[in-house]
Each structure stands twice: as structure tokens, then as C-alpha cells.
Symmetry: C2
Subunit: 226 residues, 2 copies
């Protein structure tokens, strides 16, 4: 075991690693082999010290006076994030959103693959979305056991989200991405991440309201100010 993952990566830094990874991927595609924290910071829209601190959590992979080897950095980030393996995911809910997710190329491009979609609506069962046949929610256990799925996506309406979460927990899912606008109640050991469109819109609404009122509230969460 030459290089074991020493310390846990702080949440904030963790959220930026995929951003760096995406940029590094573009650099690889452009045959760039070296990159400095300054350049990377420019592309990512953060400052260079943050980039260096973030990358330092992975280990000391840079070369002083030179920068980072792009390919090697890609490899290290992927390894740390667990992206050197393809994670199977299961989607609960085959409505508009579930279908869009199943068809979303970004999922497979990033090394995830949808191994199952379930719904309770019998009219949806048997239809094929994103190359996967929709099955009944009762078959969740069969799907997750057969494919050792540990990541579940909730794409149901709000009123069924908790029920979906319970079902996922029951079959031993470890991580849940929740697209329903609800706070889920799950055991502590289960990871939940929420993606809430309306919530984000409401935050934008606040900033637009501030703008309209004349009070400045520049909140650039993820963009380059150029």
C-alpha cells in the first residue's frame, strides 16, 4: 500500500475536485501536460492558494517551480473520488425527471451507469428509458442485490420521496441523491445530497429582489468574474 488516503477531505474542497477534474480533462484533450495552480485557478474561477490547498489534501503531487502533471493529477483525483470504478446507480421514479436523468449522457460519461429504474405507476412499467426497462418498485431489492448498487437517485414527487428513501435504505443503499424538494429522514450512516431546483430559483429570486431594491447582493457562487 504505497499511498493510502491519509486525512479526510473537507467538504468544501471535495466539492471543487470534480470541477478541477473536468478542467484537467479538457487540458488532456488539448495535449497540455503541465499546469500551474495559477492557471488552474483561472479556469476554475477560484484563487491559486485554494487550488494548492485543495490539491494538497490528495498528497504532494506538484513539482515546485514547475506545476502539476495534468495526467497524473487526473489519475490521483479520480482515484481519491473513487472514479476508477464504475458505480451502478438506481433511479426511483420514472416521471419527467427520472426519464431525463436516465437519458442524461453526463451520468455515463462520468463513469456511472443506470442499472435500474423503478416506479409504482403500472402504466410506466415495461417502458424503456435511457436503454433501461422500468420495473416495479417492489423489485428494488432484486435490482440492487444483483448489481450491488450503493447509490440511489430519488426522482419522485415530493409526497413520495420519504417512502422512496425508506425503500432505498431498506435495500441497503449507502448514498442517496434527492431531487425531491423534501428533507429526508434517513439513518445517520446514509449520505444524502439534495438537488433542489426550486430552492436554487428562490435564492436567485432573493438576489434579483435585492437588485430591484437597489441593495447590492453580488453572490457569485460558481463563475469566473471575467
Amino acid at each position: 500500500m504505497p499511498d493510502s488516503p491519509r486525512r479526510r477531505i473537507p467538504e468544501a474542497a471535495l466539492g471543487r475536485l470534480p470541477v478541477y477534474l473536468r478542467i484537467l480533462g479538457d487540458l488532456v484533450a488539448g495535449d497540455i501536460v503541465q499546469v500551474s495552480s495559477d492557471q488552474l485557478a483561472g479556469f476554475a474561477g477560484v484563487n491559486a492558494a485554494k487550488v494548492r490547498k485543495d490539491l494538497s489534501y490528495l498528497g504532494t503531487y506538484g513539482t515546485r517551480g514547475v506545476g502539476y502533471d495534468v495526467q497524473f493529477l487526473v489519475y490521483q483525483i479520480q482515484r481519491e473520488l473513487g472514479l476508477n470504478q464504475s458505480w451502478p446507480v438506481v433511479i426511483v421514479g420514472a416521471g419527467n425527471l427520472g426519464q431525463a436523468l436516465a437519458n442524461y449522457a453526463g451520468i455515463t460519461e462520468r463513469g456511472f451507469h443506470v442499472v435500474g429504474i423503478v416506479d409504482k405507476d403500472t402504466s410506466k412499467i415495461g417502458t424503456v428509458v435511457g436503454g433501461v426497462r422500468v420495473r416495479h418498485a417492489d423489485e428494488l431489492q432484486a435490482i440492487t442485490s444483483a448489481k450491488s448498487v450503493s447509490i440511489g437517485i430519488i426522482a419522485t414527487p415530493a409526497q413520495h420521496a420519504q417512502e422512496a428513501a425508506d425503500a432505498l435504505v431498506r435495500v441497503g443503499i449507502g448514498s442517496i441523491m434527492n431531487f425531491a424538494p423534501t428533507v429526508l429522514s434517513v439513518p445517520r450512516e446514509v449520505n444524502v445530497r439534495k438537488v433542489d431546483l426550486a430552492l436554487e430559483l428562490q435564492i436567485l429570486s432573493y438576489y434579483e429582489q435585492c437588485r430591484a431594491d437597489g441593495r447590492v447582493a453580488g453572490g457569485d457562487a460558481d463563475s469566473v468574474s471575467a
Copy 2:
């Protein structure tokens, strides 16, 4: 001017207000008129002190020894977030995601309404999604001017996201929600929020990887531990 918005609400607190708002909405529906910070904290999966601090940014609307008036709190949060008006939004990109968004009930339920969808693909133009006819990207200015739109949603593939952002900025959009997996380059005064599915998945991947490796990494971002 009886109660003007004094201080700017911190980002972190701002992100929780929509969560409280949703819960309060449920309470209203259940004819609950009073709520304590303790109860609200329970529903939201945070601690009571945080709820009180968050609500204190709105003003001192609670009653010591009693709690908060649910209806009044709903009104105050809505007012502060600018939700007492219906914001028109425009969607750029009429692919899978754009269509799913246009059809997403949560948008209209929360007081936003899609007034336009544009695309560059002529085969999509003229089709109707979510009750709105898809128009050509060149008509963006006409749409936003006519309806004084200030919020735009980017639902294009990654390689066209920057172009979409430029177009939105050009027509005077103030806030952008970006669903493309890219860091956008926009003027400082434009608000950008990113919703990146693959990024979130990669974070879950990290936690699952940690779990598989035996290192604990419980990151519950938005759930109740019950």
C-alpha cells in the same frame, strides 16, 4: 417605510430559508398556527439555535415564550426572498433537460413561470413543451424585453453553455442557473448558481469509496438523522 431589509442575509442562512418555507407551508396546510424554533429545527434537520439565528436575519418576528406565528413567518420569508411576485424565467436549450424543466411543476408551484424556451436546433423550434413554444435563440432579446425577464436557465450541452451565458448577459439577464457542467465566465454583477448532477454524483462516489475502504466519512448535507 416601516420595515426595510436592514442587513444582507448570509449565503448559508439564505440557502435554508426555502427549506423553512416549505415546511411552514406544510404546517399551514395542517392548520398549525404556532411553531417553535425547536419544532421547526426538527422538521428541517438542523438545530434550534440555527433556526433562530436564521430567522433573526428577517427581523424579530417571534414571540418569546411562545414561538413564531406560522402564517406571518411564511409571509415574511416570501417577502424577503422576493417571492411575493412571480418571476418570469427563460430556458436556453430545449433538449431532454430543458423539456423536463419546462414541464417541472415545482417551477410554477413556487411562483416562477417559464415565458420562453429557445434553442438553436431548427428541428426543435415550433414544438411546444410545458405549454411554451420553442423559439430560435436569436429571439432571446425579444422574449426577455417583452416580459422583462431577469432569470435565465442554461440547459444546453456543456460545449454551448458559455455561448448561452454570453447571450443571456447580452440581453441583460441578472441571474443565471447553470445546469451545464461548466464554469461560466460572466460579468461580476451577474449571479450564477450551478446545479451539477455529475459533480454531486462524484461526491457520493467519494463517500461510497470511503465506506468501501473502511474509512468513515459521514457527510449528511441535508437530511434528518432519525
